[in-house]
Amino acid sequence: MKRTLVCLLLISLAAARAWAGGKLELRPIDADDWAVAAPADCPVQDAVMIFEEVTNDDTQIHHDIQRYTLYRRIRILGPEGVAQAEGTIPQLRKQQKLEAFVARTTLRDGREFKLDKGDLRKHEVVRSHDLTIEEQSFSLQGVTTDCIIDYAFRIRIKSSFPVPPPWEIQKEIPLLRNRYTWRLGPYLHGFTVAIGTKTRPLRPNYVLRNCADWVRVERHPDSGDPRELLFTATNLPPYVAEPFSFEKRMVSANAFFYYGDDRSTHGFWDRQAEKSTRWIHAFFTRDSKRLDQVKAELPREGSREERVCAAYNWVRAHIRRVEQPKKASKRNRSCEMMLQRGCGTTHERQALLWELLRSLDLPAHLAFGLPRDQGVFVRDLKIWQFTTDLVALERDDGGFDFYSLEFDSYPCGQLPWTLEGTTALLVGAVKQRLVTIPFSAPRANTHRRTLSVAIDSEGHCRGHCSDRWSGQEYWAIRDTLGVTTDEEPLAASLSNLLQRALLADAVDSLRIEKASSDPPLLATRATLDLGNRGEELGARLLLRPLSWTGFREPRLTAAHRVTPIVFDFANVRTEIIQLQLPQNLEIEALPADTSVVNRVGSCQMIARRVGNAVSLQRCLRLRRAFWPQSAYPDLQALYSEFQRLSDAPIVLRESS
């Protein structure tokens, strides 16, 4: 949690407000500033950031001092823009100190309202036993719907090793000019860092994300005078959140800066893997009789999958997971100690699984992953980014299967969908260091709902509803219901969920026919009363059965798409409706069979008449969870067809 808080602080610091140098002074406003207006096609019209200047000054780092300065000028053009006059400067107590602050509101008539450091309000925003984050906030005075505001501040950061805050290039309002200056510490002039037995010089590194078209590197690390790096960006549109996307920090334009050695990215990840290897060797160095006993207990016969599961289940059953080491649960220094105590961290448990698999002559590698709800891995960013421990098992075809003990309710061989399609770092001798965790196939993640209902001559429908969730759909429904393994509350919750989804008058006697997490499968059957679903049309009765099943699929209404489209997982969703008609009614019209198939998936509907019954089947198949922006029209076509079919009518009339 602490690490998350510090990360949040750094991100919000970057999102806050500067310009380094000696004295902090606000520059005069000229006529061009007053002439600024939002572009006509810009979704945000009430404020424009004229410029932002950020300076990260590491020149005093040999005195353990780093300075971060920010200067912004914003043209306010309407009532919504007035919100820009509020600012906060978060800072870590003790490590960070606000050195200077100036702010100003300038009106058209030339009047100015100034603020200085004494006008700031200080209060704590986060406090835990070993971390306090304070915030200094300000509200600019005299702000109107037609004015210009400026503010600048400088923070002194006490640090023996500089960690420049990330640069949030794109804002929620349009930005005309953005500039980031990185004044380098003395690292390029002889400072070295020990790496293994060698020493290497540290170099400034940067990674630009989602901003290739906007950012220019004015002064490059390899340029003649590498004491300062300069980045500029111009005419940035505001960031606008889109549905079915990653969160803002992953898709908006931003940049990371850090000191690292000058070796290639490839070399960096190799070294990280080596570090883990060294740790593993230290962890398993001493002979452990207990470990030998465990190894002896494991079956050497059976299929590969059975042997893996035996090892996996042994660790899960015998080594309790503990949080990161604290007083009460000190880090185990060796495998022997872990086995003796019966508890270990996620990393230690995962290492034990790796060792056990190796003892079974399985080609296992320790691995690390980053679930996509926690971040997107950036290969060029030479900083440790992984948060999840895994074990990768090489297949005969050269691919890998992944296992993790970190997710307690998941059985052997299954991973949460958040890890699908993400990058994993493999430790040990492998051909590829960074590999992609495979996506599950759509057919593995299915939800099928079958409604078998009889309709009376008034349009009242009663019958049964059967559901079957498998693969990631099973985990998704469990997640929705917030249940673990208990069947009774699951039945009650499902019953409520169904009633809400189907808008049913009553859902009774829901029975769990099958509930297992290995393989993940949930099958239910319920009696239901759908109420009156018929719409009178003179002497006819109109039914729209596909609107009864309660399947909710994405509505992609925007005309354009800026960011990639991200769904939870690939899947197949099938609805089957079997309608038994009364004797006095006959079918006058059935919707025609339809099918939309494109590169992202398919949506098909089939309607059949069987005697005095009707059978409808709609099947939606999504091929992959991730799609680039270019696939947006296809996704729109698919889901639009799905929604259109929900209205597909069946017309009944009195039997002739």
Partner: protein
């Protein structure tokens, strides 16, 4: 340590004894205390829950008030995790403040289903600042404590002391039950014999047993079953069961026995900052220079404070209840509700127009029998009128003009801060017609089944203000996109273009062009279409027969939809039911279809009073929803005119 280095065996032994004693203490402290085990033994299994993630086994508050001392409360809470990780029930969340509300001696225990126990670690306790959508700077924080890796069957217990000073010590509310089942809820209040203790409840009168004995007052509730999540339920504050208490001396300093006392007390800090100085007076005169009447002057000043003073709340220290001087707010150009009201009062006062501050609550119930300023969380303006009543205005609401009140305040209790006021008053409720939204469309159905329509949406009075706030600052393309999203649930592939906005004060007109490529549905030679492409705001829901909670159809308002259809040449419709209607005590719906001179007109009007319907009347509400469902599915068969004839 020095003794160790010197090697003195005697002192070393003493240190060893101390160390052992410490170890002993820490070992015993690690185990859950007896009251936790007693609560588990007494209360576990007493309440059943179908849907709840947790059950409260014990929620005990032991409170003490005394003259000249802060209010002290010891809280003991035991929760059983039923599903998942127990949701919010297994997490302790308490508001704390550096100034007036302190938490001390927080302890917690986690009893695992397997039998082992762990104690709350300081790493699992974090305080967060209150995060709000509006600019607000406050020293109030939320303390959050949560055990990791909870599982069904886990028992979580917390014990801590609260200490409140200032007004927070005078009035207390306890949530007897939210939704989860509660096995035992207990409040014990110890007050000096000469103090007056008063209580009131919300939805808990029939569940709470109250008693008093020699300065000790008790309120106990047992075996409260789960309150299920039901559709069309009112906001949580109407569902939760609550207990309110005040304790104050019967007389003398600090006695707040009537609303008049509260008004006098509040006047002491609300009135002085409203005195105008020269700058404020000059500003007032400049603003009303062109106003002919006093009514115009009031309106001009009210709208100046509403529009030119932005909302920023700085509730740090005394700023949480004392307004800033009017001149300071004027210079800053920002302020919170009390600052804005104070500035408006000062501006009015500079012109010789008397006014008062008035206190209301927007988040909680105001309990009439328990006079206390702590019950209020919002400040508005009250102007005396000729009938010796009051006219109210909320300068904080950006959506309301002078003479209007925001709809959520309507009907609420208000205390006018005037020495002559002896009781709470009721704020006027806005007439339902003041919340009218009208959608008018001229639609053409093409021969290929496509729909082209020109749509005009008129928002009147209060809704005009709300809509004005909602659309400001957004480009037309954003508004088009918003309408497209709003229509998407029932109009597949709809496109909205040519959005425009006309602002006529208390009428706001939005217009746009709508096109839907395949609006009609064809089924084996039959062509069907909905006469109402717009539906209502919310889809109908199913209301169960065993309803427990009141039914609420949403805030008050009227929605009218009129669509004039131009059907394809030579086609017409058969109208079998020209009218559909549904009525219940709190809502009304009527829809009509008529065809005249080749134009098919659909008209519907839906009215909601905003009031709640008792659970006992659920059958009327169910019938209303069924009719609403029918109306949504209302289809017409499009056929050649020759066939129809």
């Amino acid at each position: 340590m020095r003794a160790w280095r010197r090697g003195s065996p005697l002192i070393s032994l003493r240190n060893l004894v101390k160390l052992l004693a410490l170890l002993e203490i820490s070992t015993s402290a690690a185990a859950a205390p007896g009251w936790v085990h007693d609560a588990i033994a007494d209360c576990r299994g007493r309440v059943t829950a179908e849907d709840a993630e947790w059950a409260v086994l014990l929620d005990a508050h032991r409170c003490r008030v005394a003259a000249g001392e802060p209010y002290r409360e010891r809280v003991r809470r035991v929760v059983e995790v039923l599903r998942g990780e127990g949701g919010e029930g297994a997490t302790l969340v308490e508001s704390v403040s550096s100034n007036w509300r302190h938490m001390r001696n927080l302890k917690g225990w986690h009893l695992r289903p397997a039998g082992s126990e762990e104690r709350l670690d300081k790493d699992w306790i974090v305080e967060f600042a209150v995060d709000r959508e509006v600019p607000m700077y406050t020293d109030t924080r939320f303390l959050v404590a949560k055990f990791p890796a909870l599982e069904p069957g886990s028992i979580v217990a917390f014990e801590y002391q609260l200490e409140c000073s200032g007004w927070a010590a005078d009035y207390h509310w306890f949530t007897v039950q939210k939704r989860a089942p509660v096995a035992e809820f207990r409040v014990e209040l110890e007050a000096p014999a000469d103090w007056q203790v008063r209580s009131s409840t919300w939805r808990a009168a029939d569940r709470l047993y109250a008693a008093a004995d020699h300065g000790h007052h008790y309120w106990v509730a047992e075996n409260l079953p789960e309150q299920p999540l039901e559709p069309l339920a009112p906001p949580p504050r109407f569902i939760y069961r609550e207990l309110y208490l005040t304790a104050s001396p019967k007389s003398g300093h600090g006695a707040l026995s009537s609303w008049q006392d509260v008004a006098r007390l509040s006047a002491g800090f609300l009135d002085p900052p409203a005195a105008p100085n020269a700058t404020v007076a000059a500003q007032a005169r400049a603003l009303v220079a062109e106003c002919a009447t006093q009514a115009e002057q009031i309106e001009t000043l009210a709208h100046f404070v509403r529009d030119k003073i932005r909302y920023v709340a700085v509730e740090i220290g005394a700023g949480s209840y004392t307004p800033r001087p009017a001149a300071e707010t004027l210079r800053n150009g920002y302020g919170d509700c009390k600052d804005k009201t104070t500035l408006l009062r000062a501006l009015l006062s500079a012109l010789g127009i008397p006014s008062r501050a008035a206190l209301v609550s927007v988040t909680r119930h105001v309990v009439e029998t328990l006079p206390s300023p702590v019950q209020f969380d919002h400040c508005i303006l009250a102007l005396p009128d000729v009938q010796r009543d009051w006219v109210y205005y909320d300068p904080t609401s950006p959506a309301t003009d002078f003479g209007q009140l925001p709809a959520p305040l309507g009907g609420g209790r208000v205390l006018v801060i005037d020495r002559g006021e002896t009781a709470l008053r009721r704020l006027p409720e806005p007439p339902v017609d003041a919340l009218l939204r009208r959608l008018e469309a001229t639609a053409t159905l093409a021969a290929d089944g496509g729909l082209e329509a020109t749509v005009c949406v008129s928002s009147f009075c209060l809704l005009a203000g709300e809509q004005r706030c909602a659309v400001r600052g957004a480009a037309a393309s954003v508004r088009e996109q918003e309408w497209q999203s709003r229509l998407a649930p029932h109009l597949s592939a709809a496109r909205v273009t040519q959005y425009s906005l006309i602002d006529c004060g208390d009428l706001l007109l939005e217009s746009f062009h709508l096109s839907v490529p395949a609006y009609v549905r064809r089924s084996a030679g039959l062509t069907l279409f909905h006469p109402n492409p717009f539906y209502g705001a919310e889809p109908p829901v199913a209301i169960g027969s065993e309803r427990q909670q009141p039914i609420w159809f949403g805030p008050p308002g009227v929605e009218e939809i009129t669509v004039d259809w131009q059907l394809p040449q030579g086609t017409g419709v058969e109208i079998h039911h020209p009218r559909r209607s549904a009525v219940c005590a709190v809502a009304e719906l009527q829809a009509d279809l008529e065809e005249e001179q080749g134009v098919l007109r659909f008209h519907s009007r839906q009215t909601r009073t905003g009031r709640m319907l008792d659970a006992a009347e659920s059958s009327a509400a169910r019938q209303f929803e069924i009719e609403r469902k029918r109306l949504r599915g209302w289809s017409l068969l499009l056929a050649p005119r020759s066939d129809l004839e």
